[in-house]
Amino acid sequence: MSIEKFITLKSPCVPLPIENVDTDQIIPARFLKATTRDGFGENLFRDWRYDKQNQPVSDFVLNNSLYSGKILVAGKNFGSGSSREHAAWAIHDYGFKVVVSSFFADIFKNNALNNGLLPVQVSEGFLKKIFNEIQKDTKVLVEVNLENQTITILSTGEKESFEINNYKKECLLNGYDDIDYLLSIKDKIVEFEQSRTV
């Protein structure tokens, strides 16, 4: 099987300048009862997005028609808390391809990468610049280039490079799937099992 390829993306951004956005906010536990991976986007940020009467909260960014795009830009320590992959599924299902933050929680980062959702970690300064530019122009375009590992604010030309391990980069560029890789080295795994003494 293969995952969705990621090469480059040029898109306006959706700003969420809140720190420590935890996975319970991204997708509350009561929506984890599905047995498939589909449809979680509907409940992305559910309790920030809708009020008690299930009416859209007008000042929440996903309900603001000024903002759109495939890049979610969030405050530091994004995705902390629960290991629920549903958080990555919900963001991806909603239509985002990239999440930009100055810091990501580990498990969220792994989950995102396993679903073709690219976490781009930038410096605090660069994050602030993106937020500032979005404030000036809600349609400002940001370009993410995975091959070169760069993120560029197109209006100002400001650019920063980001880290990703080579293995994951190759997987995303080519749509390779981790399980296919692991299945391909099954002999090695069996050999490892047989070599163990305790």
């Binding site: 906010q25 991976r37 808390g81 580990d106 399980i179």
Partner: protein
């Protein structure tokens, strides 16, 4: 150069190392539950493959299950489908399941240790972040996502970058009324919810070695709340004594062999950590959280920070949190009214936690204004509590003793704290809406929860202990 305990366990499980990428890590023990496994089994079906080593995986339903009338069919349709799916999938693939009415059912991180499935030197994973709990036995244990659950089912391996290493040392004697929960809430309040991201933590020093296994599990359980992949404590006589004789513990010659290996599981004297933190046990008092992440905690006699104590960048998130909690920055914690008390979860739902709570409330009465739910971590904990008469003590003091499950910790079942209500909870997360939409959670130890349940407001448990 010497190796840390973490290095020893991790390195001995590396099947192969991908250059410039993650390790292929072999997994000894895989625990699954109903919420994060169905999509992984569906993935196997799509690929047309079977579970590679079904004997290395154990399953139990916990997140969704009701805590009353478990012998009846689950009322909530979606929960019922998810739990049934776990039964179906485990049956199809020959995986051991401790189902809802089984004598070993319970919260996955409570049953692993109590059945002796959790052992020193193992790699243990589960699609649940609190898998870090099992690190209390000197194992490398951490939470994974569903794609990784599928990897383990398919190949008994996952791809993981090796984390950096941190050691947190606390020596000295804990004060009266200060528990393992207070230690971990204290550490998180010092380093924040991202203070250990990218690290695997080893806990060292007398404050940890002096704890029971239950206490160590509470500490390791909440290691994830500071962002770490996991936390571990070197196994010692307390560990070996706990494991010996349990259902799935090694027996006879196998025990001797394993024990010899387990005794070697220590950090070498000359091993180097990427980061070291040291605290003094005497500085820790009973802790309670006031905000919407576990790092927003304080000693119970303290006050919520005022805006002037915070850096400008921290203020918007703090103010959002204060608005949600309806707390005034700078206000005292003691005396704030509380509506609900919840004792339970993989953090504090073990027998020792029930004993501490029951000892405290024995001969007292629950405050009328408090609704309290006492939920044991497993069927075995429930049984033992009944054998010890804990259920009677609780009932006499006005408390309801329920059946095992994750319950109000994440409110996937009916046990939800109503909107706007304040709950003092022995759980692990005080995120917005964690215990129900609009619920306001304050995390604390079982002792503090007991004191609050008696008085109806935030109370320092030491006030009562001093009377004894």
């Amino acid at each position: 150069m010497g190796k840390t305990l973490f290095d020893k366990v991790w390195d001995s499980h590396v099947v192969t190392q991908i250059e410039g990428g993650p390790s292929v890590l072999y997994i000894d023990r895989h625990l699954i539950h109903e919420v994060t496994s169905p999509q992984a089994f569906a993935g196997l079906d799509q690929r047309g493959i079977q579970v590679f080593r079904p004997q290395n995986t154990v399953a139990t339903p916990d997140h969704n299950v009701p805590t009353l009338d478990q012998h009846l069919s689950i009322k909530d349709q979606l929960s019922r489908i998810q739990v049934n799916k776990l039964t179906e999938n485990t049956k199809k693939h020959g995986i051991q399941l401790f189902g809802l009415t089984h004598k070993y059912q319970g919260i996955v991180h409570v049953i692993g240790p109590e059945l002796g499935l959790t052992q020193p030197g193992m790699t243990i994973v589960c699609g649940d972040s609190h898998t870090s709990t099992h690190g209390a036995f000197g194992s490398v244990a951490f939470g994974i996502g569903t794609s990784e659950v599928e990897m383990v089912l398919a190949t008994q391996c996952i791809l993981q970058p090796k984390p950096k290493k941190m050691r947190i040392t606390i020596n000295g004697k804990l004060g009266k009324g200060v528990t393992s929960k207070d230690i971990i809430l204290y550490i998180i309040s010092k380093i924040s919810t991202s203070g250990a991201t990218g690290y695997f933590v080893e806990y060292a020093g007398s404050a940890f070695t002096g704890l029971s296994m239950e206490g160590r599990m509470t500490v390791c359980n909440m290691t994830i709340e500071m962002g770490a992949r996991g936390g571990l404590i070197a196994p010692d006589e307390v560990t070996f004594e706990y494991i010996k004789g349990r259902e799935y513990a090694p027996k006879g010659k196998d025990w001797d062999k394993k024990l010899e290996y387990w005794k070697s599981l220590k950090t070498d004297k000359d091993a180097v950590f990427d980061k070291e933190l040291v605290y003094d046990a005497a500085d820790i008092e009973p802790m309670i959280t006031y905000g919407t992440n576990p790092g927003m905690g304080k000693g119970i006699t303290g006050s919520i920070p005022s805006l002037s104590e915070l850096q400008e960048t921290e203020r918007p998130t703090f103010q959002k949190s204060m608005k949600y909690m309806n707390f005034e920055p700078g206000s005292k914690l003691i005396g704030k009214p509380v509506d609900y008390v919840f004792l339970g979860s993989c953090t504090n739902g073990r027998i020792e936690d029930l004993r501490a709570f029951a000892n405290f409330v024995k001969g007292k009465k629950k405050a009328d204004s408090i609704t309290a739910w006492i939920v044991p971590g497993s069927k075995q904990v429930e049984k033992q509590a009944k054998e010890e008469g804990i259920d009677k003590i609780l009932e006499e003091a006005g408390f309801e003793f329920r059946q095992p499950g994750c319950s109000a910790c994440l409110a996937m079942n009916e046990d939800k704290i109503p909107e706007g209500k304040y709950a003092v909870s022995t759980t692990n997360r005080n995120f917005e809406g964690r215990q129900g939409p609009g619920a306001r959670t304050m995390l604390a130890s079982p002792l503090t929860a007991a004191a609050v349940a008696i008085t109806g407001k935030i109370t320092d448990p030491r006030e009562f202990l001093a009377e004894v």
